[in-house]
Symmetry: C2
Subunit: 269 residues, 2 copies
């Protein structure tokens, strides 16, 4: 269901500034299925907004599972505006798409979450490993092909109602790329950091039959490549959904918030 | 007020295991004024335990000020036992000394906090830069001399009632040591990471007249050395105290919890 409109291919989303892209999103003008390659070199975030009474448990969950859940900003109940990493962004409108959940079930996708927003929502912005794509490309590691989001058999460390399996991004890389990517992503501890595993998918119970993006099983791996696995920011969203949270708004699938942070900033803002 | 007892000098605290040291602390058997150089190579933590109703604000404060406040474990209300980084440690007894605060004022120091503990306390364990001493020593950087804990004029980013100035550790190093120490501590983002400043103390408003440890002003710096400043885990304790928290128990001054984590582990547990 590619929604690309007529002249969309002309637009250089990669070179847009984060502020321009957030304004475009607010106006409902971005219709691609993913924010990958948008505003290259800037940190992208998954968003999870849930009721304040669950916020401490969720934040403790993120602390216990820092690799998949690097929290980059928390916006308190009563506010829906980023102050630190996407200054002035309205978190109800400035992403391309939102998912609304009721009692853990998807109630719908909306391009504007204002009518659904509640004053008791605490909002978490969580770094995504899409953020490292430009750095990997600069180092000669391809990021376009052979990328799959998979559930594993690794249990996260629970907190309150939040528990469930780790979700990973698997990439098939050449051995040389695998070494470079391991070193390079290790420099970004607040964007999932180094791989959590290299090699046999079965060793971590990666579910190759049911990738979380797309509908088809993972095809056979081409000869000479190595599977490399990074913790993925789809973990906190999947965990919050599985917890059956009474009400929750998240970023839409594969569509993140583009922050003002440069990915090359190794440290926290 | 050195409290060293007779044969204390004989004991090799540096080579003790964290579990042995925690047992010794529980028995009230450690009487030195600092845990520096204890269980060398293991991560040391400051502890802050405060009422659950303030825990989310405090955790958001720590997230917004990750450099001085790297949270390594959170223990929920109702528990007083570490599970992740000092497995089985009783956080009411397994530190050498505790500070008890009421309405932001120090009510006393106690070697055993059991009679003061409350079931509504949420406990935060926060990495200390003492943890990097062994790695610095291995790299030829001295850590014994020229070390001062100072208030600065840099304001932390507030959350709820928590606000106030950043506290730093200043070390005077040779230029060569400064370069090595900057590179090396940058590898430990969950133990305050790289320096926040190098050079003129006045540029960050460092208060050389009133160091937070000891009673005397900082003496003149010997020629040829460079001041290097790291965010310090005394920040969260000072901030929580300044917030006038109704009730709080913290680790005693310069006396941390010794965790099981190896300092050489770059990543989160």
């Amino acid at each position: 269901m590619q929604q690309t409109v007529g002249d969309d291919a002309e637009i250089d989303y990669a070179r847009m500034t984060p502020r321009e892209f957030r304004e475009l999103s607010r106006a409902g003008g971005y219709r691609r299925m993913t924010t990958r390659n948008v505003c290259l070199g800037h940190v992208q975030c998954a968003m999870v907004a849930l009721p304040e009474k669950l916020a401490l448990d969720f934040m403790i969950f993120c602390q216990r599972n820092q690799r998949p859940c690097p929290v980059l900003e928390v916006i308190e109940a009563g506010s829906h505006t980023s102050r630190r990493i996407a200054a002035g962004a309205d978190l109800r409108t400035d992403l391309p798409l939102f998912s609304v959940f009721r009692d853990g079930k998807l109630a719908g996708h909306v391009p504007d979450a204002r009518e659904h927003w509640r004053p008791d929502l605490v909002t978490f912005l969580i770094g995504s490993n899409t953020s490292c794509d430009q750095a990997l490309n600069r180092a000669g590691v391809q990021t376009e092909k052979h990328r799959y989001v998979l559930r594993t058999a690794i249990e996260t460390d629970p907190a309150g109602p939040f528990r469930g399996p780790l979700v990973v991004t698997m990439r098939w890389l050449t051995p040389k790329e695998a070494v470079i990517a391991t070193q390079l992503t290790g420099r970004f501890p607040f964007n999932h950091g180094a791989p959590i595993h290299i090699g046999d998918p079965a060793a971590i119970g990666a579910d190759l039959e049911h990738p979380m993006t797309g509908n088809d099983p993972v095809p056979p791996m081409p000869e000479g490549l190595v599977p490399v696995f990074w913790a993925c920011s789809m973990t906190p969203q999947a965990i919050a959904q599985a917890a059956g949270v009474e009400f929750m708004i998240t970023s839409g699938p594969s569509l993140g918030l583009i922050s003002d942070l440069r990915s090359d900033q190794v440290c926290m803002p």
